[in-house]
């Protein structure tokens, strides 16, 4: 069983997001291990990009901090290789298309395979454009994770049929960031997905409370939290580890065994 499948096997998944290299790559390793210790089932690592158009201010700032600290794609691969000696937690990259395109799709996917990255989330590579990457990723055993948005409507089935790894439902319109209220009817989106595939479904964008984690892991298979964790890093910098552990422990305490 792949590491991603394993993350959803017999349990609901809490997925934590941090930007790699914020505040530095040693700390990224530590934060991943803290999240795992606190019960996270999967970790999403953002590769910092100069112009992250899908991100709200909190993650934009994390991208800037990481780039200012000298983080690069190659340094992230080196960190992941190191981290893989310490943990088998599934790891996926959140990266913008240009990061992969410029590195070379084949070289990038081969590096993912070699260092132990399990999946890729590319917010600016929609269904119509994924063809240039999907076969290459598949060859290297890397899942290309599809996003479904509140506006996807008749596209949901088409996207779900070709989805690999898990499906990422974008809960709200707009960019990443903490929201007090999510208005989208997630349950009906999940129902449409379920009509065509058994692949796990996780919900992200705007989630930051236990109540939301509870709600979305009841409707779907997992909940993704990003900005709330990144905010902890922005506040505590290198000392964020224990705060991340406390926060994630709280979130995972509400998860049910399937």
């Amino acid at each position: 069983m792949s590491r991603i499948k394993n993350a959803f096997n017999g349990k609901k998944a809490f997925i934590g997001f941090i930007t790699a290299g914020d505040p530095d790559l040693e700390k990224t390793e530590e934060f991943v291990l803290e999240m795992e210790r606190a019960g996270a089932s999967l970790v999403e690592l953002g590769i910092p990009f100069s112009d992250p158009i899908a991100e709200g201010p909190v993650i934009q700032d994390a991208n800037i901090r990481a780039l200012m600290a000298g983080c690069t794609t190659d340094k992230i691969f080196a960190m992941v290789k190191n981290l893989r000696e310490k943990t088998q937690i599934p790891l996926v990259f959140l990266a913008y298309a240009n990061t992969l395109y410029k590195y070379g799709y084949e070289k990038f996917c081969a590096k993912c395979n070699e260092t132990g990255i399990d999946g890729l989330i590319i917010p600016d590579l929609p269904f119509e454009e994924k063809g240039e990457l999907s076969d290459i990723a598949k060859e290297q055993g890397i899942d290309l994770i599809s996003l479904i948005a509140p506006t996807s409507e008749q596209r949901i089935q088409m996207i779900s049929k070709e989805a690999t790894g898990f499906i990422y439902i974008v809960s709200s319109m707009g960019v990443t960031g903490v929201r007090s209220e999510i208005k989208t009817d997630i349950a009906s989106i999940v129902n449409v997905i379920r009509s065509v595939t058994d692949i796990p479904v996780a919900v992200g964008f705007g989630i930051n409370t236990k109540e939301q984690v509870k709600e979305y892991t009841t409707i779907a298979d997992g909940a993704i939290v990003g900005s709330a964790i990144v905010k902890i890093i922005s506040e505590h910098g290198k000392d964020a580890g224990k705060y991340i552990y406390d926060y994630v422990s709280g979130m995972t305490s509400v998860l049910e065994i399937k």
């Binding site: 990009f49 201010p57 913008y96 990061t99 410029k102 600016d124 929609p126 479904i148 506006t151 974008v170």
Partner: protein, 396 residues
């Protein structure tokens, strides 16, 4: 492979949230572009409001002074709002209205596209919000006030380099959060399909007119057609109807800033590499890891790290050539055309004039150049004075 390709360039590299909206935009555009009523309304607006057709002006003094080819200027600077931007904006704002949108948003660099968008919004009764890099709101403060006078809300953008690319980022973020009642009126031949096509179609009125005008005046096609290139909308408009005329050389002039061998440049064709950004595959100024480079030009309108995908393909196929022009050369041209022809041209357009000054003397007297004057330069006067060390601030 998805729609909207120009060779390998173009495509639709946008978040899933926008995919249905840009598909709908394409469908609506494909309908209205063949709709007689829509075309009649747009044509009336272009004639009665924007002042089209724009003149094709024979620059006799410059022709004599440079001593080579006959020089014609396509006077987009004489349009209402002072640049070619109005051609596209009237088309897109009318489309927004037909689509039932209540609100339009746009990015702006120098402020020309922002002013044009605010103008069309005022005329057609749409809400309008403009995103402009903080740096540019300072460089072009007068245009900010102009947009506000026209009833638009201007949002200074503080992310990234605080210039045009960041204004585009912020516009995309805003559009993703509110697609139902809002249309993003993109200002150049860039972004995801269908924008490069829509903007090119609305701007191609420039070459449609110029081609007919030169045939009438000279009885033959020009030898060279040239324009400045940032994202590339006036150049695409100026080139489009001449692409099929293989004898016509097409030259795009991009902003080299301090020079293509420095890091203070915005010359994407000369220094950029293939990438994916702002919804399209094209050439971008970027580092080895694909981080988009901070670019620089004296011209806020050309200060963009990418170029439209159709231009990228015209470069790949060799149909058009692209040349870098420095700040210094552009400022010299700005002053030269003012003194020679009594025309204060935009600093953006002055990049094309600068290259024209290089090539015209070596061409034969029976040869013809058409250069697009994309905008007027009133907005640039203070910046040019500063460049020459003159302080224009009035005493209190």
């Amino acid at each position: 492979m998805a729609k909207g390709r120009y060779g390998i360039h173009g495509g639709q590299y946008v978040p899933e949230t926008l995919m249905n909206e840009i598909s709908r935009l394409e469908e609506e555009y494909e309908f209205y572009k063949n709709d007689a009523l829509f075309n009649e309304e747009l044509d009336t607006l272009l004639r009665e409001y924007a002042g089209r057709p724009s003149l094709l002006y024979f620059a006799e003094k410059m022709t004599k002074d440079l001593g080579g080819a006959k020089i014609y200027f396509k006077r987009e600077d004489l349009n209402h709002t002072g640049s070619h931007k109005i051609n596209n904006v009237l088309g897109q704002a009318l489309l927004a209205k037909k689509m039932g949108k209540k609100r339009i948003i746009a990015e702006t660099g120098a402020g020309q596209h922002g002013v044009a968008t605010a103008t069309a919004a005022a005329l057609l009764g749409l809400e309008c919000e403009i995103y402009m890099g903080r740096e540019d709101t300072i460089r072009q403060a007068l245009n900010v006030y102009r947009m506000e006078l026209l009833g638009a809300k201007v949002h200074p953008v503080d992310s990234g380099t605080k210039t045009l690319k960041d204004a585009v980022n912020e516009c995309m973020r805003e559009w993703v959060s509110r697609v139902d009642d809002t249309l993003y009126v993109l200002g150049s031949v860039m972004g995801p399909h269908p924008f490069p096509m829509i903007v090119r179609d609305f701007q191609s009125v420039i070459s449609r007119e110029a081609r007919a005008q030169i045939l009438k005046k000279e009885g033959r096609l020009p030898d060279v057609v040239m324009a400045c290139v940032g994202g590339g909308s006036n150049a695409m408009g100026m080139f489009y109807e001449f692409i099929k005329d293989e004898s016509v050389r097409l030259i795009g002039c991009e902003a080299a800033g301090h020079g293509v061998d420095t890091d203070r440049t915005a010359a994407t064709m000369a220094t950029g590499t293939e990438g994916i950004f702002h919804g399209m595959k094209s050439y971008f100024c970027q580092d080895g890891y694909g981080q988009i480079a901070p670019v620089y030009s004296i011209s806020a309108g050309l200060d963009y790290p990418g170029v439209g995908p159709e231009h990228a393909n015209l470069k790949d196929t060799g149909r058009a050539e692209y040349v870098p022009v420095t700040d210094d050369e552009a400022v010299n041209a700005f002053e030269y055309i003012a003194k020679q022809e009594g025309i204060i041209a935009a600093i953006e357009s002055s990049h094309a004039v600068a290259h024209l000054m290089k090539i015209a003397p070596d061409m034969g007297k029976d040869q013809i150049i058409i250069c697009c004057l994309s905008g007027r330069g009133d907005k640039d006067v203070a910046a040019i004075a500063r460049y020459r060390g003159v302080d224009l601030h009035e005493q209190d």
